[in-house]
């Protein structure tokens, strides 16, 4: 029964059957019926395949030629170098803030005779 479940789950998922499962499917009437019904589906789906029209790539390249150089039209902040630069800038700001805090709170207090 486990073998049937495994075989039928694999067939329904559209995954290829391993050698073991193929042998089981061939010997089991229920699994054979399931395999047959799904192979009909797969065969019919194969008919949904428009051919690539002749000269398609040429037409695309003609459009591309009218475009000029490929560019950047995504959101600027998604670009990796920009993201890296922003991350570094944020880290630098954080470090400067820490230094500024230490200088203001501790160093200034010491200079005034306070206890750090």
């Amino acid at each position: 029964m486990d073998r049937c479940n495994e075989t039928q789950e694999t067939i329904v998922a559209g995954q290829p059957l391993s050698g073991d499962l193929q042998r089981h499917a061939a010997a089991c009437a229920r699994c054979t019926a399931v395999a047959a019904s799904y192979s009909l589906l797969d065969a019919t789906l194969q008919t949904f395949a428009p051919t690539v029209p002749d000269g398609f790539a040429d037409r695309v390249m003609a459009l591309v030629a009218a475009e000029g150089a490929p560019g950047w039209v995504g959101r600027w902040f998604e670009r990796r170098p920009i993201q890296l630069a922003l991350a570094h800038a944020a880290a630098l700001c954080a470090a400067l803030n820490v230094v500024w805090f230490v200088v203001r709170v501790f160093v200034a207090d010491v200079a005034l005779g306070g206890t750090p």
Binding site: T44, P50, P70, V73, G74, R79, R80
Partner: protein, 179 residues
């Protein structure tokens, strides 16, 4: 030559490298659009738009974040969804027989094949949108299930579950016909 190399070539000024990308990916793209129900002219128009969009935004493609195919099909999926929405406002766009190539028929009787295809088209059209696109992306041999998950922006388990449900529904529709 992998896709990332070709992209670098195009960005470096070798525009002809883009032709190789088009030739390499045009067939699976047309298959995806055909499965979605776009007939020849509409499929060609959408495929052109997809490649043009890809070219325009090639600078934003990051091979460290995604495979080229994942990126390409994400764009195609968006454009197809927009087109479907636009067509829906003007008229219903059923999955028509003109989307179908004269492929080797699964049955020797052309009338039976045509009837099966018609029934399957109707069943496909009745699938919920999420099931339909996930299932069709999985039918494009270029994409692994992980990549389908990346295009769909969902978990691998969700992709498997959607494929499972879609196949079951479509098989049931064909089985009704055979009964």
């Amino acid at each position: 030559m992998d896709d990332a190399f070709l992209v670098r070539q195009v960005l470096g000024g070798n525009r002809e490298a883009f032709r190789l990308l088009v030739v390499r990916h045009q067939r699976p793209l047309f298959r995806f659009l055909g499965l979605l129900g776009f007939a020849h002219d509409a499929a060609e128009d959408l495929a052109q738009q997809t490649f043009l969009r890809v070219y325009r935004s090639l600078g934003s493609f990051d091979p460290h974040q995604a495979k080229f195919t994942t990126w390409l099909f994400t764009i195609a999926k968006r454009l197809a969804a927009n087109e479907r929405q636009r067509a829906h406002h003007h008229r219903e766009q059923p999955l028509g027989d003109d989307a179908i190539e004269e492929a080797p028929p699964p049955s020797p009787d052309p009338a039976v094949t045509a009837e099966r295809t018609r029934r399957l088209s109707a069943a496909i059209a009745a699938l919920p949108e999420a099931l339909r696109t996930t299932f069709f992306l999985s039918q494009v041999n270029e994409l692994t299930l992980d990549e389908v998950a990346a295009v769909e922006g969902c978990a691998l388990g969700t992709v498997k579950s959607r494929i499972h449900r879609a196949r079951e529904q479509l098989r049931a529709a064909l089985a009704e016909e055979e009964a």
